[in-house]
C-alpha cells in the first residue's frame, strides 16, 4: 500500500516502513516520510501516539522492528552512526538541571561544539566568537552568563537550540519544545526556528501535540495517531476523512479563525483502517513523498 521510492539525492532523512514493537505491543506501524533541506515539518499528534518513539528511532536510541532509516542517503542500522550525529541536531524537551550545576549558558552552548569528546578544549577566540554568534542567532546572548539552572523554560529551550545548532546540523530535531511554555515564549521559539529554516536551509522536525503555534510556518505535517502516520501538507492531512481513517474512528476537523481543532466524534463509528482500498496508490499514507 505504501509507495517506496528510491531515496532522492537531497533528502536529509528518510523513514521507510518503520514498525516498532515494544513489549509485544505494536507501537508504530509502517511509518514512512522524508525530509528535505529547509523544510519545516511538524510531527503532530496526541500524547502517547508514537511521536517520541519516532524520534528515538531516528536518533538511534531505539532500533525499529522493521523498516529502514536513511540519513543523507546512507542507510543507518543500529546505534552509533557518525553520519547521523553530524547531520542531525537534537533538542530535548527537558534538561536535568540542578540549581548548582556549574554551567553557564555559554558553557552549555560550547558543549555543543565538541561536548562528546574526551579531553579539555583549548580556549580560543574563534570558539568564543562562534558561541557568541550562535547565541545571537537564537536570541540568548542577553543571558549568556547566567547559570543554566536559573533559566526559565523558554530561555532553556533557546539555549538547547543553540547547543544543537553550533555543530552545524542540517536537520534540527526538537522534542515537544513548546509543551510547557506560555504563548509568547512559544511564539518566540517558533520564530527562531522558522528563521533558521528560511535563512540557513536547516530542516526542522518539531514534535508537538498542539499544531496551532506551528501552523503559520509549517511546510508539511506528519500526523501520528494510534501508531500510524498521515503525511503531507496541512491541506492534505488536516481533513476529517483523512484523520478519521487514521484514528480508526470518526473525528471532526474544524477550522476556527485560522486555527485547527480536532474533535472526537461519536464512539464506535468505525470508519475502517487506513489499509482499505487495496492496490490504490495513496498520496497521503505511506511514503508521503509529494
Amino acid at each position: 500500500m505504501s509507495e517506496r521510492k528510491a531515496p532522492a539525492a537531497d533528502e536529509l532523512l528518510r523513514l521507510d516502513g518503520i514498525t516498532v514493537r515494544l513489549s509485544g505491543r505494536e507501537v508504530l506501524h509502517d511509518v514512512s516520510f522524508a525530509i528535505r533541506p529547509g523544510e519545516f515539518t511538524g510531527l503532530i499528534g496526541p500524547n502517547g501516539a508514537g511521536k517520541t518513539t519516532i524520534l528515538r528511532v531516528i536518533l538511534g536510541l531505539l532500533p525499529p522492528s522493521s523498516g529502514t532509516v536513511t540519513v543523507a542517503g546512507a542507510p543507518i542500522g543500529g546505534r552509533r552512526h557518525h553520519r547521523r550525529e553530524s547531520v542531525i541536531g537534537y533538542v530535548p524537551q527537558k534538561l536535568l538541571i540542578e540549581p548548582d550545576m556549574p554551567l553557564r549558558v555559554r558553557d552549555v552552548v560550547a558543549l555543543g561544539i565538541d561536548g562528546n569528546k574526551l579531553g579539555v578544549p583549548f580556549p580560543s577566540r574563534a570558539r568564543r566568537e562562534l558561541v557568541n554568534e550562535t547565541l545571537r542567532m537564537v536570541g540568548a546572548d542577553s543571558f549568556a552568563d547566567k547559570r543554566v539552572g536559573e533559566l526559565s523554560g523558554g530561555e532553556q529551550q533557546r539555549v538547547m537550540i543553540a547547543h544543537a545548532l553550533i555543530s552545524q546540523p542540517r536537520l534540527l530535531l526538537l522534542d515537544e519544545p513548546l509543551a510547557n511554555l506560555d504563548i509568547r515564549s512559544a511564539q518566540g521559539i517558533v520564530a527562531v526556528l522558522a528563521k533558521l529554516a528560511r535563512e540557513q536551509q536547516i530542516a526542522v522536525l518539531i514534535s508537538a501535540h498542539d499544531m496551532n503555534p506551528l501552523a503559520p510556518v509549517m511546510d508539511r505535517i506528519v500526523y501520528v495517531a494510534a501508531g500510524r502516520a498521515a503525511v503531507g501538507s496541512s491541506e492534505e492531512v488536516l481533513r476529517t476523512d483523512v484523520l478519521s481513517r487514521l484514528y480508526g474512528q470518526h473525528v471532526d476537523v474544524l477550522h476556527v479563525h485560522g486555527r485547527v481543532v480536532i474533535v472526537a466524534g461519536e464512539d464506535g463509528e468505525d470508519t475502517g483502517s487506513p489499509h482499505d482500498g487495496a492496490g490504490q496508490p495513496d498520496p497521503v499514507y505511506g511514503s508521503g513523498v509529494a
Partner: protein, 303 residues
C-alpha cells in the same frame, strides 16, 4: 604571630610530608568532588571511603601495604555499585547503603581478627580518622601517582560528564557512551577516595570531597572556575588545618595536639556556611532536588 606559627613548624619532617600529601589529596578530592556533588553522589563518595578503609584493615591483617588494600576495595566497590547499577537516585542510595553495610561488617571482622593477632586497640580510631602526620614516606610516590591519575581521568572526562549530567539523551544521541562514562567516573572517584582515606582517614576524605566542592558550586559559575575554586578552598583549608593542628600542641591541655581532622572539618563547614552570607539561600521546593519524599522527574537513557 608566635602563637600562629609555633616553633619547629617548617623544620618538622612529618609536617612537610603532611603538607605535600595533603595538597595532592585536597586538589584531587576537590575536583572530583565537583562532579560528585553535581551528580548527587555524596553518599557514594562517603561509602567508598568507608569501604576503602575496610580494605586497609584487611591488607594490614595479611601483611600487605595498607595502601593497596584501600585501593583494591575502593575500586571493587565502585565496580559493584556500577554493576548493580541503578540509575535512579533513590535506588542507587539503597544499593550503596547495602554495599556499605557489607563493607562495614567486613571491617568489624578485620579489626577483630587484628586484635587477635596483635595488640592494636587503637586501630579503630586511626582507621576512621587516619593520621596525616604518620604517613609512611615509602607510600608517598604511590599516593601522588594515584592522585594525578584520578585527576587526569576526571579532567579528561569533564566535558562528557557534564553533557551526560545535563541531558543523557543528547549525550547518547551524540554518541557518548553514557553508562561507560559514568563507570569510569566512579572508578576515578574510588581511586581519589581511597587515596584520601589512607592519607587522612575516611571522615576527612568525605569532608574534603564534598565541602570545598559544595562551597565552590555556590559561588563560582562555569565548570573551570568551579573546579579551580574548589581546589583552592581545599588546599587552603588543609594547610590551615595542618598549621592549627601543629600549633594546638602548645594549646591547653599542653603537650597534646588536637586532631587535624577536627580542624579541617571545622574549616570546611565554616567555609561552606560563609557562602550563605554572600548568597542567602532560597527555600527549595520539594520535588525539585531529590529531597526525601520528593518525586523528582528523573529520566533515563536506554531501551
Amino acid at each position: 604571630m608566635h602563637y600562629l606559627i609555633e616553633p619547629g613548624l617548617w623544620s618538622s619532617s612529618p609536617v612537610r610530608v603532611a603538607v605535600l600529601v595533603g595538597t595532592v589529596v585536597a586538589i584531587t578530592s576537590a575536583v572530583v568532588g565537583v562532579f560528585t556533588v553535581t551528580r548527587g553522589q555524596s553518599f557514594a563518595g562517603h561509602s567508598l571511603a568507608d569501604v576503602a578503609t575496610t580494605g586497609g584493615s584487611g591488607a594490614f591483617l595479611v601483611g600487605l601495604n595498607q595502601f593497596w588494600g584501600f585501593l583494591a576495595f575502593g575500586v571493587v566497590a565502585a565496580i559493584i555499585l556500577e554493576a548493580i547499577g541503578v540509575q535512579r537516585r533513590r535506588g542507587r542510595d539503597v544499593t550503596t547503603g547495602v554495599v556499605l553495610g557489607a563493607g562495614l561488617g567486613l571491617a568489624a571482622l578485620f579489626l577483630y581478627l587484628g586484635t587477635q593477632q596483635s595488640n592494636t586497640t587503637g586501630a579503630s580510631f586511626t582507621v576512621l580518622f587516619g593520621s596525616i602526620f604518620v604517613i609512611q614516606s615509602s607510600t608517598i610516590p604511590a599516593l601522588i601517582a594515584c592522585g594525578v591519575i584520578a585527576l587526569v581521568v576526571i579532567v579528561t572526562l569533564s566535558r562528557v560528564l557534564l553533557l551526560s549530567s545535563l541531558s543523557p539523551e543528547v549525550a547518547a544521541a551524540r554518541g557518548v557512551p553514557v553508562r561507560a562514562v559514568g563507570a569510569a567516573y566512579l572508578v576515578a572517584l574510588a581511586i581519589s577516595v581511597s587515596l584520601s582515606s589512607v592519607a587522612i582517614g575516611a571522615v576527612l576524605s568525605t569532608a574534603l570531597l564534598i565541602g570545598p566542592a559544595a562551597t565552590a558550586l555556590r559561588i563560582a559559575k562555569g565548570p573551570v572556575r568551579a573546579m579551580v575554586t574548589a581546589a583552592v578552598i581545599g588546599v587552603v583549608v588543609t594547610w590551615l588545618g595542618i598549621l592549627l593542628a601543629y600549633d594546638s600542641y602548645y594549646w591547653p591541655p599542653h603537650g597534646h595536639a588536637w586532631p587535624v581532622s577536627f580542624f579541617i572539618v571545622a574549616l570546611v563547614v565554616l567555609a561552606y556556611l560563609l557562602t550563605y552570607l554572600h548568597r542567602p539561600a532560597r527555600r527549595r521546593r520539594p520535588g525539585l532536588t531529590g529531597a526525601p519524599g520528593a518525586a523528582r522527574p528523573e529520566v533515563e537513557v536506554g531501551a
